[in-house]
């Protein structure tokens, strides 16, 4: 398992059960699109040179524009691709014997960290939906809790059924004895009209 980032403040006696990112197919789709976007202009330029006799004199205006614009295009795609990679790699889910932590890097300057104590978890559901998900073995885990964020979703994680089992197995040990009772709200009494 990869090392836990120090920003998560894991206690010395806290046991890390799982640190996982989304399944590799999430970044695979972005990479395949990026490769297509890079290859298509090169193919078009090659075809124009081969069949239209398109050629440029080194140092001419056309050559300078082509190299400059092409370099900017490749540079932009390279930076964009790394942004996609960071969006994938900096999103991860951490499960310890005390809490579940969901970290989502939504953009370059937008990062959300959600924590949920295990004793507040009420229901855990795993879902594998689709041909690709079934074949590659990834899916979602839905965690219903009594906290402010009622539903945690661990999206596109590998082996969701095992992760759900892991959370369920870790749950009973974490119910504190001094947990305050849940207030039972009585439904409002609607007076019946005398007919």
């Amino acid at each position: 398992m990869e090392p836990v980032p120090p920003t998560l403040n894991i206690a010395p006696d806290e046991k890390v059960l799982l640190l996982t990112h989304r399944h590799w197919s999430a970044i695979g789709r972005s990479i395949s699109r990026g490769v297509i976007v890079i290859v298509i202009p090169l193919v078009i330029a090659g075809l124009m040179k081969r069949f239209m006799g398109w050629d440029l004199e080194v140092g001419s205006l056309g050559y300078t524009i082509l190299v400059g614009a092409g370099g900017l295009y490749v540079l932009f795609l390279w930076v964009l691709g790394y942004g996609f990679w960071l969006d994938y790699w900096l999103d991860f889910y951490l499960i310890t014997d005390r809490r579940i932590v969901e970290i989502e890097q939504a953009g370059l300057f937008h990062r959300t960290v959600s924590e949920q104590p295990l004793f507040r978890v009420q229901d855990v559901t795993s879902e594998v939906h689709g041909v690709a998900a079934s074949t590659l073995g990834y899916g979602n885990v839905y965690i219903q809790s009594a906290g402010e964020k009622e539903r945690f979703v661990l999206e596109e994680i590998p082996r969701p059924e095992k992760v759900a089992r892991m959370i369920l197995d870790a749950m009973p040990k974490n119910i504190p004895a001094d947990l305050p009772p849940v207030e039972q709200k009585k439904p409002p009494v609607i007076p019946r009209a005398d007919l």
Binding site: E2, V4, P6, G59, V74, L75, W78, W89, I103, L108
Partner: protein
């Protein structure tokens, strides 16, 4: 015929490239700050920075024969107005 000074064309290419490079530095900073020093984070940052260097080097090499001081001439298309002898 339009004369385009080389410095303008140079600025048009290099200013966006510098902006993208600054954005890249911010990306790498985020990777190190939030990704920790895991081997995958370190390797991905190294590959990314290497790719940046390669792209800059290739473009610099391809543009090295260009004489920016001489400027560029853009020949606007002209229409032949002389009537042919029929």
């Amino acid at each position: 015929m339009i004369n385009i000074p080389g410095v303008i064309l140079k600025a048009l290419f290099f200013i966006p490239a510098l902006i993208l490079t600054v954005v890249s530095v911010v990306h790498v900073y985020h990777a190190w700050r939030y990704g920790g020093h895991s081997p995958v984070s370190v390797a991905s940052s190294f590959i990314f920075v290497s790719g940046l260097v390669v792209i800059w080097a290739v473009v610099w090499w391809l543009l090295s024969p260009v004489d920016w001081n001489a400027g560029f001439v853009w020949e606007t298309p002209t229409v032949n107005t002389t009537m042919p002898n029929i």
